[in-house]
């Protein structure tokens, strides 16, 4: 089976230096990959290439072995298989939790259902189940997103990701600006979701949260510095790699 995500020799130009240079990365079903790097290393750019938001100047992007589809219909189907957890969450503040969760289904729905979703509660059971998976109660469904707390928003965003039922989960620093307990909890939640046939690529800049990942990828100044399976990585070796990765950066290393 082809890898869910296959990036080959990706190059993205930047103002002074390339934002990504000759990056090759493949992720197969069942893999949980942590993407590490100091800020400005190109993690967000890499994720934008991976979810199709950004078309690289050079290199090949394949999703399950297919290049980006030409026809809009096929392209939408392709995109529906990739779910992104955005750093700024990108929930629709003015809508209810229920409507936000259903927004993840828009790729599969036609206009009638999409409009009905703005009038009536649709698919409440599936939405309640998704909320339960992220540890929230079904009573939140009717709440407006604007009324939620920060932690609740994070969870709703993950629940929306679940409702999309993607194969490839991408997450752009989902744990930044969260308190340590919540960060660990949400990370575990995401890792649990990413069992085969799914896969997860998650960017981090805190190297202390690597437990539970299968692979760790280091990105520095747009270049891939290392790409190693966690299982065969001694702690001392990992520390050496991280020291190289964060050389000259003011970021705390392993605890």
């Amino acid at each position: 089976m082809p890898p869910l995500l296959d990036l080959q020799h990706i190059h993205v130009a930047g103002r002074d230096q390339p934002r990504l240079h000759d990056v090759t990365l493949g992720i197969t079903a069942g893999e949980r990959v942590a993407l590490l790097g100091p800020s400005g290393a190109g993690k967000s750019t890499l994720l934008a290439v991976a979810n199709g938001l950004l078309t690289p100047e050079a290199g090949t992007v394949l999703w399950s072995g297919e290049p980006p589809a030409r026809s809009p219909r096929l392209r939408r189907r392709q995109r529906a298989r990739i779910g992104t957890l955005w750093q700024d969450l990108r929930l629709i503040e003015e809508l209810t939790v229920q409507q936000n969760l259903n927004a993840a289904r828009l790729a599969r729905w036609g206009w009638p259902r999409a409009l009905l979703n703005l009038l009536l509660p649709l698919e409440s059971e599936a939405n309640a189940a998704a909320l339960e998976q992220v540890g929230l109660g079904a009573e939140l469904l009717a709440c407006s997103v604007a009324a939620l707390s920060g932690g609740q928003r994070q969870r709703v965003a993950i629940a929306r990701l679940l409702r999309q039922e993607p194969q490839l989960l991408l997450a752009d620093e989902p744990l930044a600006s969260l308190d340590p307990r919540l960060a660990t909890e949400l990370l575990e939640l995401l890792l649990r979701q990413a069992e085969a046939p799914r896969a997860l690529l998650l960017s981090l800049h805190r190297p202390d949260l690597l437990r539970g990942f299968d692979r760790v990828v280091g990105l520095r100044r747009g270049r891939l510095l290392f790409d190693r399976p966690m299982a065969f990585l001694a702690t001392s070796e990992l520390e050496a790699l991280l020291a190289e990765l964060y050389r000259g950066e003011a970021v705390g290393l392993m605890p």
Partner: protein, 528 residues
């Protein structure tokens, strides 16, 4: 779709469509309008409309025609500029005089502010066309008539906005300066001047765009400039010459809008939806220089146009008021007239407010669709509604719906531009996220872009509906369309008693409408 355990809060949800649907709901008015339209078509006129449309591609390039259009355009532009500058001067003076903060600081009491504010409602509630026609009667056809017709209502509007801005500002700095012993005028200028300037200039810029439209409109009713030429060429079916003028006007309007938009961005000024947002714009010196350049500019333009303020002194009273027939005035079908006006306003407002987001949705976020929209909306803003009305009369019978279509088309252009502007403010993040998850471009637009814009847009729509109520007079020439038609009829019959009564009723109606739209706007903005 089982909702058994969760059904408690939902019966209400049925009555409350979600945010992105709200701005689309007024477009439902299309259904009855489209259903009634076939009955209004009188059969002829299609060849005329065809010729009109074809002439758009082949405007007259005769140097004489172009020269005449340019001359007319220069007069219209001059009238707009002069009226606008006068309205700014008037507005600043009156705005200060109707601000509670100013009275508090300078006089120690607040009540005169409220009184002046209430008095200013009257000039504001009367459309510039009415001012123009009344002044025309009083002092004859003079360039100063158009200028004053713009300056009076606009000045009162600027005064209201300025006073609202002043009273809405944080007054703590002012109090600090006062308690430090600064004299009142100096304290006012220092504390409130800088935060006020960007909002005022931004609003002033929009008023200049409006002034250009008003000056064109006044021309259509015979007060000179390009508008007069447009109407004459339309009535004599010289469509190719008509389009020469229209294209030139479009070029000027788009240039002006682009220029003002550029200045607004350069000075980081707040947008129309929220004048209070944003602090002191940068480049205060440039702003002041621009302001200082206005009076000499006004003098130059005034001389070129031959504006003579002294003409105002040689006015004549309205004839025939001593032999007024008040019983005849009373016998007018008032109920019908008022109902017609209100119906016309509601129809036009619903069409304009609802169609703009609907068209945006149908055109989609693609570059081509947006380009077509921008162009058609620019044409709508450009076209004075009475000309659209005349054009529609080639096809349709006179009546409220015909008038509403003309008025709605014009305001659609204004609302559409605002919609695009505020959708730039919203930013693409949420729409992008939805597209990335595989939803189609139009659904992403509906969910991601219309959601945050819905309430502020509708709040502006409420304000616009109030403007449209005032504007119903300009499509009065369609006939059978409420107070406006009656007013134009009474004017052409020189029945000044009727005219005065109609203007008074108009003013009352507008004031009530203003109150209503204010409330609607506040509840829309508070309803998050």
């Amino acid at each position: 779709m089982s909702t058994a355990p969760l059904s408690q809060p939902y019966p209400l949800a049925l009555l409350r469509p979600a945010a992105p649907l709200l701005p689309l709901l007024p477009a439902l008015v299309l259904l009855p309008v489209l259903a009634l339209l076939p009955g209004l078509v009188h059969g002829g006129g299609w060849d005329l409309i065809g010729r009109f449309a074809l002439a758009a591609l082949t405007p007259s390039l005769d140097p004489v025609v172009i020269q005449a259009a340019l001359a007319g355009l220069a007069i219209t532009l001059g009238m707009a500029l002069l009226g606008w500058i006068a309205s700014l001067a008037l507005g600043v003076v009156l705005g200060l005089a109707s601000s509670r903060v100013v009275w508090q600081v300078c006089g120690g009491c607040r009540w005169p502010a409220g009184m002046i504010r209430r008095l200013l409602a009257l000039p504001r509630s009367i459309h510039e066309l009415l001012w123009g026609l009344l002044l025309l009667q009083l002092v004859g056809l003079q360039p100063v008539v158009a200028v004053l017709a713009i300056a009076i209502p606009y000045g009162a509007l600027v005064a209201r906005v300025l006073a609202d801005l002043l009273d809405g500002l944080d007054s703590r700095r002012l109090e600090a300066l006062r308690s430090a012993g600064a004299p009142a005028p100096a304290a006012l200028l220092t504390a409130l001047g800088p935060p006020l300037l960007p909002g005022l200039l931004s609003y002033g810029g929009y008023r200049l765009e409006c002034a250009l439209r008003s000056a064109t409109l006044l021309g259509v009713f015979g007060l000179g400039g390009l508008g007069t030429d447009l109407k004459l060429t339309l009535q004599s079916l010289e469509f190719r010459e008509l389009w020469t003028g229209l294209w030139l006007l479009l070029a000027v309007m788009l240039t002006l809008e682009t220029l003002l938009g550029w200045l607004r961005r350069r000075w980081l000024m707040p947008r129309r939806l929220d004048l209070r947002r944003g602090g002191v714009g940068g480049r205060g010196r440039e702003m002041l220089l621009l302001l200082l350049a206005l009076p000499p500019l006004a003098l130059l333009v005034g001389r070129a146009l031959g504006v003579d303020p002294q003409a105002l002194l040689h006015g004549q009273p309205l004839p025939g008021l001593d032999s007024a027939d008040w019983a005849g005035v009373w016998a007018l079908p008032w109920l019908q007239l008022v109902a017609g006006t209100l119906l016309l306003t509601l129809l036009a407002a619903a069409l304009a407010v609802g169609l703009a987001p609907l068209q945006l949705l149908l055109a989609g976020p693609g570059r081509w669709g947006q380009g077509v929209l921008r162009f058609s909306w620019a044409l709508g803003r450009l076209w004075p509604p009475p000309l659209t009305a005349l054009l529609l009369l080639f096809l349709l019978q006179p009546g409220v719906i015909t008038a509403a279509l003309a008025l709605g088309f014009h305001n659609l252009g204004i609302l559409g531009r605002l919609l695009l502007e505020s959708s730039e403010d919203v930013g693409p993040a949420v729409e992008e996220a939805l597209s990335c998850a595989g939803s189609g471009p139009r659904l992403a637009l509906l969910y991601g872009r219309l959601s945050p814009m819905a309430r502020p847009y509708l709040a502006y729509g409420a304000y616009r509906a109030d403007v449209m109520l005032r504007e119903t007079v300009v499509v009065g020439l369609v006939g059978a369309a409420g107070l406006g038609s009656q007013l134009l009829e009474s004017l052409s019959a020189f029945a000044w008693d009727q005219v005065l009564a109609l203007v008074a009723v108009y003013a009352l109606l507008t004031l009530a409408g203003e109150e209503l739209s204010d409330r609607l706007r506040r509840s829309l903005l508070a309803g998050h």
